[in-house]
Amino acid sequence: MRGVRLAAIATSLLLLAGCEASGSLVIAADDKVKVDVTAWAEVGEEVSVDEYGNETALPPRPGCEYLSIQVEGLIASSEVDAKNPKRVGCHWTGVTTVEALQSVEPGAGTLTQSDSRTIILVNRDFFKQSTQYLPDASIRPVFDLSVTFPGQVLEHDEASTLSGTTVRWSDTVALSKTGMRVASVRPGDHPSPPSLLPVFGAGGLVFGGAAAGLVIAGRRGRRRLAPSASDQIDSQPDADAPVPAEVEPEPVSEPPETPEDHSVWAPDADR
């Protein structure tokens, strides 16, 4: 059994960024993942205090220092919102692998794989946290994330839209009700347990053969012990062409057995 692989870059990025993120993840059939994601966080003001207690405002730290996620194969570059200097971001680009992403703390969700499925799960509570403190219902965190899977998408949550094999989320309020939930097919898919159907088929084969054998043996036995008119009628269709030839061996073999039975019971008769 192949172990479950774990990757969680998307959810971790979201978690760290307070749910503001945009970009895409493209998962290839060979488990390589093309990443182009920017996450944002609004940082609080940091000040330095000198020996006299005077405070001096410090410039915001670079976004990638604040959102410190390093993944093999990805290049991280810091960004600052031109309209709001306190809003810093980090932009990750490049190609990595599902395996390389395993080192990222999964947090509230996961991108996981089995042999036959790729699954994304993020708890809706995570998105609730990011939306319940908004001062205005019309304000929605910047969020536009798409994930392209290597195979058919079997199920996706109601907060997402599906185009081909790409699932896209752009509404955190909707996500706060559903969470992220996607199941897609991996190459080499097994729609059902691969070993069970042949087992059931073989079981049926054995059962059918055994049942037919028992029926045939039962008919023969009845014929041997008490060949009735009905048995003879029943046996005629089975006999096909060589009817006389088949009937003949039975009387030859049966009568010698009858005396043997008497000898077996003889001791009881002596008692």
Binding site: M1, R2, G3, V4, L6, L15, G18, C19, E42, G44, E72, A100, Q102, S103, E105, P106, G107, A108, G109, T110, T112, S114, D115, S116, R117, I119, L121, N123, D125, F126, K128, Q129, S130, L154, E155, R181, V182, A183, P191, S192, P193, L196, F200, G201, G203, G204, L205, V206, F207, G208, G209, A210, A211, A212, G213, I216, D238, D240, P242, E246
Partner: protein, 233 residues
Amino acid sequence: MHPRRRWAAALAASAALLCLGGCTVDATFVIHADDTVTVDVESWQRMDGVVFDQEGNVVPADEQGCSNLKHFLPGLQYETLTAASDFVPVIGCRATGTTTLAAIDGRTPLVHVGDRYVLFASPTWRQNFANDVSVPPGQKARPAHLSITFPGPVESTDSSATVDGTTVTWSDIRPSVDVSTAGGMVFLTPLQAIAYEAPNPFVTGLISALGAIVGAAAVVGFVRRRRKNGPGR
């Protein structure tokens, strides 16, 4: 809300499961093909002076044992358990009964997605059990134990699980660390399992029936051939 506080709140929300102040559980879930779940959970936790429920209300001392289980596993029968303790006062709860995956969706890390059943319990979730609360002496519950029986065969699990038939068992769900082979990084590991749905009864029946017909036909054909060949010998 400050981003870091928001992050912390999100972590707390994802961590909130079964017990908040640290506890130990012995949990058994049996998932049926119709997505009903038979549950048998026993939890033990410290008895604290003031406990708040998920809505922020103060929980009376005698209800502390079951308040979390009632929230995360609603619709079951609950029994408060008490035990003498020489050191830390503890209180327990046993929740039993049948619920549905839909009823516990988002409250437990168990989901039915696509045609698979998935358990994903994050390292943060496992932090619930990172404490020294233990099952009181004389109680039968197994400490930090989780067992899930799926309707269909198990496709994959994390390395800490054991599989017996369609049942996956974790004998110690407390947080554990793993060392990445790439770079020697240390990271916390989640609990994971993915299982198939129950075999489709129609497909299974059809294949079994076809097998039976083929088997019966083969035997009948074999007998007839023997009969036909018999006179010639």
